[in-house]
Every structure is written in C-alpha cells, then in structure tokens.
C-alpha cells in the first residue's frame, strides 16, 4: 500500500471521530449558556475550567489526528524524541515508574514475566533505562 493510500484510509477512518468531536463540542455551547443563565453566573465556575480543559483536549487530539492522518510529517515534531518501539516505550515507562515508587528491579521484572513478557523484551528495556542520562517523564 502506498503512503498516499495509507493517508487516505486513515483520514477516512478519522472522519467520524472529527465529526463527533465537532457535534459534541458545538452541543456544549448552548449547554454552557443554559448553565450560566440558569444559575445566575454560578455555572461559570464549572464552565470556564471545563472549557479550558476541553480546549486543551481538542488541541491535543487535533494534533494527534493530523499526525495520524499524515498531515504532519513525523520529523516535524519528533526530532528530539527517542524512536523506541511501542514495547520498548511501555516497558521503559514501567521500569521508570517502578523505580520512582521504590520497587526493586527484581520485583518489576517478576511482574513483567508473570504477564508474559519475554526475557529479551525485558532485558532490552532494562538496557535502555540504564543508558538514559535523564529518563523521560513517563507521564508525558
């Protein structure tokens, strides 16, 4: 499949997501209005933070949609990030968080093995963690 076809398919798949986002987002406007008018302004306490959160989410989602739909080239915004596989990234995040919680590596490795991860996957992730000068924040 050519990259052009992939782009078209991913954009078609994303169309209902974008449409639902627009419809729900626009539905919020009259609801916010009702909240503000009905409560004599008290509703603003909820409406303002909610609007800010939603604005952030929409901005974030749209960036993801553009990237997924091939509208942003990966090198545009990932130049400074590690190019790990999904497996590496999830295992590295797990090791970093476990360390932050004070768990030993042995415990973390035992948990991963219990959940079907292979020694190769675990050792690979462990090596990456050891080579990180400043481990990335796993919550980001």
């Amino acid at each position: 499949m050519t990259s052009q076809n992939k782009k078209i398919i991913s954009q078609i798949l994303l169309a209902p997501v974008v449409l639902a986002e627009i419809v729900t987002g626009l539905a919020l406007v009259p609801m916010a209005l009702v909240s503000i008018v009905c409560t004599g302004g008290v509703g603003l306490v909820v409406v303002i933070p909610l609007a800010l959160v939603l604005f952030g989410v929409v901005k974030y989602v749209n960036k993801g949609i553009k990237r997924f739909g091939g509208l942003i080239k990966p090198e545009d915004d990932t130049a400074n990030k590690h190019t790990w596989t999904k497996t590496e990234q999830s295992l590295v995040n797990y090791f970093i968080k476990s360390q932050k919680e004070g768990s030993s590596d042995e415990t973390a490795i035992a948990h991963l093995k219990e959940n079907g991860w292979t020694d190769a996957d675990i050792q690979n992730a462990r090596r990456i963690v050891d080579t990180l000068p400043n481990p990335p924040d796993p919550t980001k």
Binding site: P16, V17, A27, L28, P30, G43, S90, N115
Partner: protein, 336 residues
C-alpha cells in the same frame, strides 16, 4: 430562543432545612479535607476527580430526580446542585479511604465490593436525609418503575441506584488516580479479551438497568427483550462498540499513558455511538421519557439535529462506563 432557558425554572428558594444541609456539607467537607490532606499529598486532585465523576453522573441522570430548594447559588446546571456533588464526592472518598486504610490486606476486588457495601448503606441514609428534608423528589417514571416498598420515603431500589452510581464513579476516580499518582502499571503483553468483554457486559448492563426508566426501547424483536425493555440487540451493540473501541486503542497504543488512552477510547467509541443514537431515535427504536424531554432546552446540534443534551450525554455515559471497564482490567492485572 431565550424562552427555552425557562426550562431551568426549578424551585431554588432556600429553605431553613436546605441551609442546614448546605452548612452540614461544608463542615463535613472541611473536616474530611483536613484529615485527608494528612494522608494524601494530592488530596485536591483526588477530590476533584471524584467530584467530576459525580457531576458527570448527575448531569445525565438529572431527569430521574429533582433537586430543589438548595438556594440559587447552589446550582450549576438546571437542577444539578454542586453542594450535592460535593457531598456525594466526600462521602464516596471517605468510604474508599476508610476501606483502604483499615482493610489494606484484602484483595483489591474485595475492597471494591466493600466500597459498594459501605456506600449502599451510607448513601441510602444520605438519600433518606435529602428526601425527608424536602430537597429531592423523584420523576414519575422512577415512581412507576419501583416496586412500591419505601424506607422513610426512599424507594428500596435506591440501594441498587446508589451501588451502580458508586461503582461507576469510584472506578472513574480510581482510573484517574492511577494517572495522578503515576502508578507503575504493568503493560499487558497479551490482552485478556474475554475478561475485557465480561467487564464491558457488566458495566453496560448495570448502567442500562439503571437508566431504563428514562428511555423506552421499541420495535425490537420480542425474543430480544431481556428485562422490561432492555433488549439484547441494543445492549449487545453498545457492549460490542465499547469493547471494540477499547481493544483497538489497547492494541495500537499500548505505550500511551492513561489519559491519552482514555481520550482515545472515548473518541473512538463516541464517534460511532453518536450516529448510532441518532439512527435509533430517528427510526423510533429509542423514545425518551417525558421527564427527559422536559429537561431538553430545545437546542439541537448542527448537522444531525440531535437535542444537545443527548449529544452531550452519550460521551458522559461512555466516560463512566469505559472508566469502569478499564479500572477493572487494570486492577485485576496489577492487583492494586
């Protein structure tokens, strides 16, 4: 157009009993937060997620009950009162904290059952208080559905409603608490799809049973009706849709953090749920009760002319049910 806003005309006159209740909630919340802050560093974030969960639940179940007399300052949307939101959130968080504190050795799923047991009793007492203080009444649809056994003015079914509400809201809070506390969660190498499917069935079915008085499901084949007007076809479609959305995200975005994943579950499941809801309403498969219709402001969404309340309720419903499913999945894998 402005006449549409008259729908918010609920009786907000502050009564003496309501004032007493409001003050009681403030004091209880103050004492709780003082004690909770000694145990939990991010106590405000935890209270915030619990309040958000309660608020979501209250907004889309608003037509089922009417909250009156709390005072003009106490409302945030139609008859949804932030004082009740705060009260429920403090009660839920207290029960969760006490169970976690005193039964730390109990397996986490048993602790969850303890949360629900505690909430059913304490929540029922809270419900008796608001009903007898004249602060809450029930919609005719609820009163028609109940079997007719009342304890101090509260239908016995409230035990079920409170347990379901608690299950959904506590799961929502616990899911977000994993993110707030940056809990190390074991990545799932091979997702247990059967477990995920069972969690989805439980989440959707419990919820459908609860909101059943608000919606009639019509024109489905008679064999498909499981209980009253809950139909296997529709409930099955919701289950499949939500389960599929979750499975897709978990498969392709294993490495994403909990919040990113939650937004993705929500967007994928919601993107298909909204047109489906539109189709069901348009073709008479779903008819909303009179109390729900009375709560509509009359505003509709662009493109598909769906009442805004429904367009908004669908993602709210999704967020609580998805959080329930995902919390159970994560909890069973991580045992924490």
């Amino acid at each position: 157009m402005w006449q549409k806003l008259l729908v918010c005309d609920v009786d907000k006159t502050l009564t003496a009993s309501a004032l007493g209740f409001d003050i009681f909630v403030f004091i209880a919340a103050g004492i709780f937060l003082f004690l909770y802050s000694k145990r939990e560093k991010k106590y405000l974030a935890h209270l915030g997620t619990m309040m958000l969960g309660v608020l979501i639940f209250e907004i889309f179940t608003a037509p089922m009950w009417h909250n009156i007399h709390f005072g003009r300052f106490a409302y945030i949307y139609l008859d949804v009162s932030w004082i009740l939101t705060l009260g429920w959130a403090v009660l839920l968080l207290s029960v969760v904290t006490l169970v976690d504190m005193y039964l730390p050795k109990l397996p986490v799923y048993w602790r969850f059952i303890c949360y629900l047991a505690g909430m059913s009793i304490l929540g029922f007492i809270a419900e008796i208080s608001v009903v007898n203080l004249g602060l809450r009444t029930y919609s005719p649809e609820i009163l028609n559905t109940v079997v007719g056994t009342y304890l101090w003015g509260v239908p016995i079914e409230a035990f079920y409603y409170i347990a379901v509400m608690s299950a959904l809201v506590i799961s929502f809070h616990k899911y977000l608490a994993y993110a707030i506390n940056e809990t190390a969660l074991i990545p799932e190498r091979r997702k247990n799809h059967l477990r995920s499917f069972i969690a989805t069935i439980i989440g959707v079915f419990l919820f459908e049973l609860m909101v059943e008085p608000m919606i009639s499901n019509n024109n489905f084949p008679s064999w498909s009706y499981l209980y009253d007007d809950i139909t296997l076809i529709l409930t099955g479609m919701w289950i499949f849709l939500i389960w599929l959305g979750i499975s897709i995200v978990d498969h392709f975005f294993l490495h994403w953090n909990l919040i990113k994943k939650f937004i993705a579950y929500f967007l994928i499941a919601g993107a298909f749920a909204l047109p489906m809801e539109y189709f069901l309403i348009l073709n008479g498969f779903q008819v909303y009760s009179e109390s729900v219709m009375n709560n509509f402001t009359g505003f509709v969404t662009p493109f598909i002319n769906l009442p805004v309340e429904i367009a908004f309720a669908v993602p709210l419903y999704m967020s609580l049910v998805i959080a329930f499913i995902k919390y159970w999945e994560l909890m069973l894998v991580n045992k924490r």
